[in-house]
Symmetry: C3
Subunit: 346 residues, 3 copies
Amino acid sequence: MELTLSQLAVRFGCELVGDPDKVVSSLGSLEGAGPESITFLSNPKFKVHLPGTRAGAVLLAAGDAADCPVAALICDNPYTVYARVAQYLRPARQVVPGIHASAVVEKDASVSPTAEVAALSFVGAGARIGERVYIGPGCVVETGASIDDDTRLVGRVYVGERVIIGKRCILHPGCVLGADGFGIAPGGADGWVKVPQLGSVRVGNDVEIGANTTVDRGALEDTVLEDDVRLDNQIMIAHNVHVGAHTAMAGSVKVSGSTHIGRNCLIAGDAGFSGHISVADRVTITARTFVNHSIHEEGSVYSGALPMDEAGNWRRNSARFRQLDKLAKTVKRLDRAAGKREEEKP
Amino acid sequence: MELTLSQLAVRFGCELVGDPDKVVSSLGSLEGAGPESITFLSNPKFKVHLPGTRAGAVLLAAGDAADCPVAALICDNPYTVYARVAQYLRPARQVVPGIHASAVVEKDASVSPTAEVAALSFVGAGARIGERVYIGPGCVVETGASIDDDTRLVGRVYVGERVIIGKRCILHPGCVLGADGFGIAPGGADGWVKVPQLGSVRVGNDVEIGANTTVDRGALEDTVLEDDVRLDNQIMIAHNVHVGAHTAMAGSVKVSGSTHIGRNCLIAGDAGFSGHISVADRVTITARTFVNHSIHEEGSVYSGALPMDEAGNWRRNSARFRQLDKLAKTVKRLDRAAGKREEEKP
Amino acid sequence: MELTLSQLAVRFGCELVGDPDKVVSSLGSLEGAGPESITFLSNPKFKVHLPGTRAGAVLLAAGDAADCPVAALICDNPYTVYARVAQYLRPARQVVPGIHASAVVEKDASVSPTAEVAALSFVGAGARIGERVYIGPGCVVETGASIDDDTRLVGRVYVGERVIIGKRCILHPGCVLGADGFGIAPGGADGWVKVPQLGSVRVGNDVEIGANTTVDRGALEDTVLEDDVRLDNQIMIAHNVHVGAHTAMAGSVKVSGSTHIGRNCLIAGDAGFSGHISVADRVTITARTFVNHSIHEEGSVYSGALPMDEAGNWRRNSARFRQLDKLAKTVKRLDRAAGKREEEKP
């Protein structure tokens, strides 16, 4: 793929400052891009690299255009436009319809003739594979699961029984959808009694699920990821969780059972959620926060991670943490005594 | 499967208040169940849904029976009885004996004729697969591993060389038993020297292991999970760890090497354990606690996670954490001075 | 394999105190080893077991030799020498050249005739498999990936498109190299726009990658693990991260995007790194620390995990944490007042 800058400006709605006939065919960083590449400036932190860029053109906001030594493509959200340009110049691998000879597709599975089932993949009885779906190598799609049009299972993905996945989703290697939720009841002398997990997982459209992320099936009702949910790697979604549309979670987030997270939330890495709580729409959770109770206010921001310190300082301060309640009581007493002295002053 | 309420009461030891001939065939939540379903009330928090339930029957404690608008099945532990009823009404998929044509079973592996090896699974030389074992699609059972009767590898499970797994276990997709422990010795200019991991993993009976959980093989002796240990997803059990019978761990718990955890412990999500420590029986660890030293008292409860706060508050308070030792010293000094003043009072 | 103690002393550069003709053939712990085994004493904590050992010989430092009841092999770093002896006595499984009949190797992949591709593995178009490489059962090596000589993919490993892996690496089951990094741009009413991840992953020589660890491909440039990096299980390396040579990370460490970690660092379990920061060489990070800013000083040590406490104490102290800023202000005020009183003293 290649485009002239004028084609690019028209297609992606940018204002061009520079040679309209210049051709770009690849993508690069502000520092690394050569003249055949288009790049972008979004984070102000990287503006220092703008004067020295050798890129063919830079996607940037109007305010940065004056400092651009090469062709500028001015737009409101350069990062988003960059993403769209990159999708255009580097389209995802085309689906090659057909079932590889080494794949195993059970008799009554329904696989669209426009879908591709790659080598050594398994599609179970009654499963339904939609139009232009890509099932990469080594995937397992169990009995009765359903994968809707244009979804891609990159490779070695596991989709459990009866799990339902929407259109245009991307599932990365090692993710597991529809393993049993963790349901155990105390059985006295017999030890634990397993609680059968009878629900399933429902995934909306345009959802992306990262490598080695797990989304468990519900105990009775379904675990739900609404449209356009974006999950990074190694995330743990427990049974009966509900994640609202457009919510994004960075790596290693853990959501305990039956928790309901709103729409358009931003959850930073390694945050954790207690079970049976509810989080409003547009909430931001910063990295490594333990969300231990419900959040009712839309758009609020919560934190919970202590910043590190040099080890010796840390040791001294964290030892004091164990005395914090005592310390607070002493301060209260001293404060009360000081107040009394003030009153008694002649 | 279906049962009359009288059959159910007899089989599961409940007292029935309601029509003995009513038939139930499925399971549901207090809110969602219809008249063909049985449900349960265990958590008092859900009691608000009892008066409005449309279920066929509710498993509940004697004290809640008066408020039940439909048939009541009175028992001591409704959640446990529910689990047993659910197992009865929704039995796990039957094993279909045989080895799928696409599976690879090496010549001297021993697979019981009552076991099922599903599509695209591998069973290595000298491995032993017991009676009615289910090896789901895409599993790897390495050389010399042993899987005892009635155990289920749901799919895409990895069982390493010589790993020994007991009866009636359930291993969920993506779990890895018997990868090498993390053993490296400093080799000076040569960099790290790998320490061969010569032990194995031994898993007792009735153990459940969650999706993408990893249990490493021991360095010299074995890593051990005793009977009825229950592990949720994405748990990390390092080499030479020993987990006592009936201990349950929620998702993302990490146990460092050579740590010994007692029997009947309850470990909440994302807790972490230092290496080479020992935890007594019946200990409870709350969510996200860092267990940094041994716990000797049976039945004790330990915590270690800070509750989150609104981001601005959090920033102010956590900045003060870095001054905590200094703060404590100032308080001590002020307190001493105040004491002196008291003494000096005329 | 077996060796006399004199052969062992010569080969591994130890001083022998004991019978040079005694033969050892296996390895054991100080407590568990029998007379046919060699063991080691490194951690002083285990010295209590030395007088009672029944091992054939003990690798130990000169200062411990006097207390050794059996043959002693004196050396400077007993644990490292033990590792080398163990590698010698228990060599890794030999590669058996050839491609298993059930494996799928695409036509233009290049597989060395000395390499082994085990059952049910997939090697994509244009991939290159070097000399004596072992591709264990159930692995996926995607299009254009390259695996250099003597590297071992233990089983069920996923190597993404164009990923480059050096010599003598070990990749454990369930690890995923080269899944897409987590790149999403806000697209307004359209929801998230995926940012194509066009970089790859480059792994140096002698790297070990643990079970279910994920290393994402870069957005534009590559994610890099330099030579002799050692990663334990369930580690998350985000896109564009760079890890310097000889750095070791214990289980469940998370490194956010574009972070640069130096050489010879030691990162303990469950530590997390913010994105876009830089960590100097030889830095030590203790367990569960959140590295939220760059570390410039080589060899420094940082911490950030609060030690647990009995649950009641914890509750009281952590409740006070929410008042810490207020508390600090009160103390400041009291301190100021006390200072003033001192000045006013007659």
